[in-house]
Each structure stands twice: as structure tokens, then as C-alpha cells.
Symmetry: C2
Subunit: 457 residues, 2 copies
């Protein structure tokens, strides 16, 4: 059997690692809608963006045509410390499910940030350093992005200020401690260190914060302090560009063994992992060279693709950020406090939104307890304790594999295992103790936050 | 430069992975002293050991002559889920230190148990399953071994009872939760579920437990319940045998690139990682084929090699276990409460004790805050957040590399990075907050516990 020749883990050699990122937009006939200046309603120029982002990142953000952008050698060297990540054949899971499907997962959790976020963090820190900046600011929710950025800044000797959603700051002291190990300063958000933070605190005393608030604070600090810029871990085109390294490695590994996937599955919060994982496959689909079923999986408690609207919206609660056209639940939407892990952003990458709108991919939402059931099942047979975010993709991969069992089809399923759940054990404990629930927003709640969308056009 | 050809991470292919474990004792001219029956003072027979351990493991424990023991295919398949582990060239650390030394580390932390412990856990669970047992019992301190065994038992469908030192049970709820995810039952020790536990509680009400107590409880439960056996994560010959996979992979990886190490460094608690890492190198040394400097690193707060005596002692506090000849601080010794992480066992593997006694290896002890300084420095440049245990080896590797900087020697240093520190962030926090101290036992303390050693011979 040729089957037997496929190892449990496919590792590329350093020579086989990507030397350029792939810019998915270059192959899109209908480009994603541009970011707008909320004041003028006009597309943002490079000049307007440069007080917020590093110059080179502004170029990447706006570049819709260059197909491949070289990965600087310094970044490739850093990648070599934790990449290539393995593409794992889930032999044990397949056996346990009794499915004829062949399941593969690209595992991005083997680094201290515990997720794929480091792929973009190191790129953004590199360009900040190259521009001679003193430091960067950012927000973090569950803490993966903040940790990744702390690691990247420590490597390049940059100052790193992280606004951490207050509820996470208090509930995840260990994430905070990892960031401190890497020398970052971590501030619970909303805080009294910014104007927008003080305003939010005055309006909502006792609030435990949200990603949208933390973004507003981080952007304010970056724009008011000379030598600082703001960096973001998802949603933006530049982030999807850096994350394409996930998909490029996956494709090279599959090609090495002549494997063609039928279904590609990724969890979707802001879209950084999904956009990266699917990039080269979606490219082939856009160019008409191949066809794949591509499935975005989101939490039922924060369902931007499946229950949101496709419209211009703010990326932050403070409404100081650019407007992006995306599937959104409205920037005032806050998911249930019971919702564990990340994937709690109200919007979605503009690039992925356009592709979804144009029918190039599907989306589905899954409920929390079924996600943790899949997580536990996966952990017990494949060994890895998955992050709640990643477990959304596991849930749907298992469901698709079970469909194959019914039909007898030996489909090839590839999913993204974005990270590990070492810092999510409070959620696992709730699951074990039967204290986890499946609260999803009512139609009325969604209508209320969507009604507050800015008027554009 | 040929140098440039050595990748950041050397991965073996699945075909290059070891197919047999190496039994270091087979090359020792002076064999380690046998386990004794505490009642008769005579060497324990296979018959006497089989109520405690699985039959096949008893054979491995007593086998001093077979050089290679085949790794069963089921275990090799499980190994493929998390092995081969990478041998990493610490290019970034070398650059940061400005040393001409070449530093490599064998990283065993890329699995959910977070350490090398899984290498032996899966072997012990396999033999228990093969013998048709219902389950196994064990103790765990810092929690790495308990987690590893839970994962292994879940894979083979065995029941798993873990006695967890009470202070760890309370301070490390997340470790406990990972074990629950894998279906293990976790009991804080000392408990009222065993005779020995009730006795210890009566004598020391309010005690927070010790590894020695937990061993006594786990052994009692295994021997009193039909279909159960006891398993141990370190110290024993069988464990060192399974852990030889670390050293065998390391040697194959080095040989592939024609690299000959000058110094091999490992942290030492009970000796499972150190014994595994050095096995094939020590074999060459014993056979007179090569010479290496081999350094065991232990915590100054639990210094069995450097301040203990070489004598027969109990492995447990309840004194129901066999007597082992080893470097020991006395089975009543308990390290300072300030001591973080594992490496808190009062004794040391008999095999390593004999080798140390015969001058085949060195030992050194390091103080806690200097260990965490090394840990933080390593994390910042190499990305990985190391376990406190592993950081003992990092400390000495850095010190040796700095000596090379002084002398200009380009020595090749290999050390074992046994695991990750995700569950040790309370200790990291104490370090950051200046609340960590370097308490070491006084001569009087050691004399008192050593005076209680059993009289043998």
C-alpha cells in the first residue's frame, strides 16, 4: 500500500520552507473593499495609514497585485526556530472513528506562544525594528497574540505594550506572566492610561473589557507616542499575507506525497489562521486550476459569517480605527461571558469576507460543548491538548469524517490545528464539571448591534 | 563553511528512529547493586517483584546483560505521534553569548505531557495492557509524570489512578485538569484511601505530602487491588531503558552531520532524563571507544549526588518499597517548600549512582535563582519557555559556553531540554517579583535524614 509510506508527521527540510509569502488578493478578480477613513468616507492612503502602521506593513496592506513577497532572511531565520510545523496524518483519530477518510492537520502549536500568531508577530516586529522604531502597541484577548508579539519584540529588542482585555488579564495570570518573561508590559483594558479607556470606564464602570476596547487603547497609545506603531494579530491583509506560510508549507508537504485534499477546514475569528491555511489552495481555485471545499468554522456565540451582515464597520469599540468592509455583528457586539477562548471578534477579514460573499468558501457555526467534546476526543487519541479555537475545526473535521464513514467515501480532509490549550484549562474544567453552556445571541441582540453600524456610501 | 549546512533543527525520519532501546547496564563492568527485599535483606527475585510491576517490566528491571531490547511496534507507532524530537542547534543563544562553543539541545517538550516522561509512560502502559491488567497506579509530584501516564493509559484504555503530592494538587489545578481530560482519577496525597496514607496523616496532621508518601500510597493500592500494578516515572532501570530513546536519537542526529560532542549535560532528579540522554555516549565511554565529559546537574536544594551518601535506602517514605543502593539524602528528606518544579526526589537511579561512584561522570549543583535567570535568558533568545527542571541543564550549558568564550575553545555542548514550563508560571512569577530564594539544606539537616538510613549488610 502506498498509504503506508505517508509518515505520521510530514516535516519539510529548511530548504523546502517558503522563501516568499503568497498574496491571495493578487488572484482575486473582485478585490476586497478598501479600508475607509471614517471621517471622509474615502479609501485610506498610505500617508494616512503610516502614523498607525510601519511603512513596509502599510505597503503590504495596500498591495493587491504582487503575487509573492519575499520573506526577509532575518524572519526566515527566526521561522527556523519553530518552523516548519508538522503536517500530521491523524492515523489514530481515523482508526478511532472507523472512517475511510484520510485526515491531516497542520499543527501550529509547537512554540511558546502556543499558536500560529508568531508567524505574523515576528514579521511585524522585524519591520518595526527596520524602520528604527522604539516599540509597538497591541491588544490581546485570550493572550496568544500578546504572547507571540512579546516573543518577537524580545528577539529584536523592541519595547512592547500589550492592552489585555481585563477579564482575560484577571482570569489568565499565567499568560500575563509569559509576556512578562519576554519583557512586555501588560495593561488591563479598559485602563486609565488612555483617553478612550477613561471614556469607556466613565460610561461603563466595572466593565471587564472587550477586544474592541483594547484595540482603541493600543491605537491611541501608538499614535500619540513618537517612535511607536500599532500592530494587530488578525483581520488585516498584511496578517493574512504572513500567515500564508501555513498554507504554503501545507501544500508543499501534500505535493511531496502526491496528496490532493478534498476538504480544507479552519477555525475563523478574525481570519488569520484560516486565511493563511487556505491561501495557496484558494489561489488555485481562483485561477481555475483546482477545486476544493473550503469550510470556515466559527463559534455559534460569535457568528459573523453565518449570522452577520456584509457591510462597512469599525474594527474597534472606540470607533477610532479605519472602517473595513466585512461580515460583522456590529462593533458593539460582545459575545456571552460563557464563551471560552478567542474567536470573539465581531468582524472578519475583508479578504475572506469577499471570498465568502463570492461563493468561494462555506461557513458553519458550532456550539461550545460540542467543540469541547471534539477537543477531548482528539486529545485522547492524538495526544495533543488542543486550544478551544482550534477545536472548532476539529469538530467539523470529525463530523466530515463521520459522513465519509456513512457514505464509504475516502475523502482527504485537511484542517488547521492552530494551537494548544495549556492556558485554557479553566474552560476544560468547566466542561468536565458540566458547567459549560451553549449561549448564543438572540436575533434581537444581533439586530440591535447591527443597527448601530456606521452609515457608509 | 560546513557549519552552515547544519540546520536549526535536526529531525530524523521515521525510518531513522530507534527500533530497540539500549540497555546501558550491559556495558557496565561493575553492575548497579540489586534491589533488596527490606524484610530479608536479600536481592529481590522476579517472583517477589511481580505483585508490584508487570511481568515484562520485571524482566527489563532485572536484565543486566541484553544490550538491545526491541521496542514493540505499538509503542513505536505511539512514539511517531510525538517523536522524533528535534535536536536543536542553539544558533541564537550562541550569538547572544558571543561564544565560539556550539550548543545543541535535545527538546523533549513537544507533547502534551510537556516532557520526556511520555517515552516511558507509553511503554509501561503497553506492557500492562499486554498482560491483561485493568489499570495502573502511580504518584506524581510536579505533575509531568502523572500527565504522561494519563495520556498513555487513555490510549490503551487502562484505568489510571494518580496519587498527587497534596501541595502540587492544590497549587497546580491545571495539571490535575489535564489528567482528568485523559480520564485519570487524581487523589491528593497523603489521603485516607490507603493504610499508609492514614498512618502518615495521623502522625503528621496537616502535612502537604511528599513524593515518598505518594509512592507508598500508590504501591499499596496496586498490590491490594487485583488487576492493578504500580508504575514509576524515574529511578528504575526499566525507566532508564525506555528513556534511552532520547540518547539514541541524539546520537543518530549528531552522527548524520559528523558531530562529536565534547560535553553532555542533563538535569538529574531521579535520573530518567539524564540516564536516557547519555546512554549511548556512556556506552561508548564504557567500551573505551570514545570519551565525553558528562555532567549531571541537580538543585542545590536537593543535592543527592553532591551532598548525599552512596548507600542502600528506601525509595519511599512509608518504607514499603524495595531498598535501592543509590546516592541518597535519606528517605525522610524533604526539600525546601521554596524549591520549584521537580528534581525533589531524595535518591538517584542505581545505575547512574554506580557510574558516578566509578568516576564515569561528574555532578554539580546549582541554586534556584541562577536557574531561573538562565531560563529567562534562554526563553528570550531560543523562544521556548523551559521547565524549571530543564533549566538546571541550561544554567550549566551557558556556564560552560561562557568558559569557552574565555578560553576561545569551540567545544560542542549537548544538553537535554526535558520540557516546557507552561505549568510552572507561579514559580516564574515569584522569580519576576523577587520572591524566590535559594534555601539549601544545612549540614545538620542532611546529617539527620542520612542518620535514619536503614542498616544493610
Amino acid at each position: 500500500m502506498a498509504e503506508n509510506k505517508i509518515p505520521y508527521k510530514i516535516y519539510l527540510t529548511e530548504e523546502e520552507m517558503p522563501k516568499a509569502w503568497y498574496n491571495l488578493r493578487s488572484d482575486m478578480k473582485v478585490k476586497p473593499a478598501p479600508l475607509l477613513n471614517p471621517g471622509t468616507g474615502k479609501p485610506l492612503t498610505a500617508e494616512e495609514l503610516s502614523p498607525i502602521f510601519c511603512e513596509e506593513l502599510v505597503q503590504q496592506e495596500l498591495d493587491e497585485t504582487t503575487p509573492y513577497i519575499e520573506i526577509p532572511e532575518e524572519i526566515r531565520n527566526f521561522y527556523k526556530m519553530f518552523r516548519p510545523s508538522p503536517l500530521v496524518r491523524a492515523y489514530c483519530l481515523e482508526e478511532k472513528l472507523g472512517t475511510p477518510a484520510k485526515i491531516y492537520y497542520k499543527f501550529e502549536g509547537n512554540n511558546t506562544s502556543g499558536s500560529h500568531k508568531l508567524n505574523s508577530a515576528i514579521a511585524q516586529a522585524y519591520y518595526a525594528k527596520k524602520q528604527g522604531l522604539k516599540g509597538v502597541t497591541t491588544e490581546t484577548g485570550a493572550g496568544q497574540w500578546g504572547t507571540a508579539l512579546s516573543m518577537a519584540c524580545s528577539y529584536f529588542g523592541l519595547d512592547c505594550k500589550v492592552y489585555m482585555v481585563k477579564v482575560s488579564y484577571e482570569q489568565k495570570p499565567f499568560r500575563r506572566e509569559v509576556m512578562r518573561t519576554y519583557g512586555a508590559s501588560v495593561v488591563p483594558s479598559p485602563s486609565d492610561t488612555t483617553e478612550v479607556g477613561r471614556k469607556i470606564l466613565a460610561e461603563h464602570p466595572g466593565t471587564t473589557g472587550s477586544l474592541g476596547c483594547a484595540i482603541s487603547e493600543a491605537v491611541e497609545v501608538a499614535t500619540k507616542n513618537p517612535g511607536y506603531r500599532y500592530v494587530l494579530g488578525s483581520v488585516l491583509n498584511q496578517v493574512l499575507l504572513h500567515q500564508s506560510v501555513i498554507g504554503l508549507e501545507t501544500k508543499t508537504a501534500l505535493d511531496k506525497y502526491g496528496i490532493k485534499p478534498d476538504i480544507i477546514i479552519g477555525c475563523a475569528g478574525g481570519g488569520s489562521n484560516l486565511g493563511g491555511l487556505i491561501a495557496p489552495f484558494m489561489g488555485e481555485k481562483l485561477r481555475g486550476e483546482a477545486d476544493y471545499r473550503i469550510i470556515a468554522v466559527e463559534p455559534a456565540s460569535c457568528p459573523s459569517f453565518t449570522r452577520g451582515v456584509y457591510a462597512y464597520d469599525f474594527c474597534d469599540t472606540g470607533m477610532i480605527c479605519p472602517l473595513a468592509k466585512m461580515y460583522t455583528l456590529g462593533s458593539s457586539f460582545i459575545p456571552s461571558a460563557n464563551h471560552a477562548g478567542g474567536l470573539r471578534f465581531h468582524g472578519m477579514s475583508s479578504t475572506l469576507s469577499q471570498l465568502y460573499h463570492d461563493g468561494y468558501m462555506e461557513a458553519t457555526s458550532v456550539e461550545q460543548t460540542s467543540v469541547f467534546q471534539a477537543a477531548e476526543q482528539f486529545a485522547r487519541v492524538e495526544g495533543i491538548l488542543p486550544a478551544p479555537e482550534s477545536s472548532h475545526a476539529i469538530r467539523v473535521a470529525i463530523d466530515e469524517a463521520l459522513k465519509c464513514k456513512e457514505t464509504g467515501e475516502a475523502k482527504t480532509i485537511v484542517f488547521g490545528l492552530t494551537g494548544t490549550g495549556y492556558f485554557d484549562l479553566v474552560a476544560y474544567q468547566k466542561f468536565h464539571d458540566g458547567e459549560m453552556s451553549d449561549e448564543i445571541p438572540t436575533d434581537e441582540q444581533l439586530a440591535a448591534s447591527i443597527a448601530k453600524l456606521p452609515k457608509v456610501e
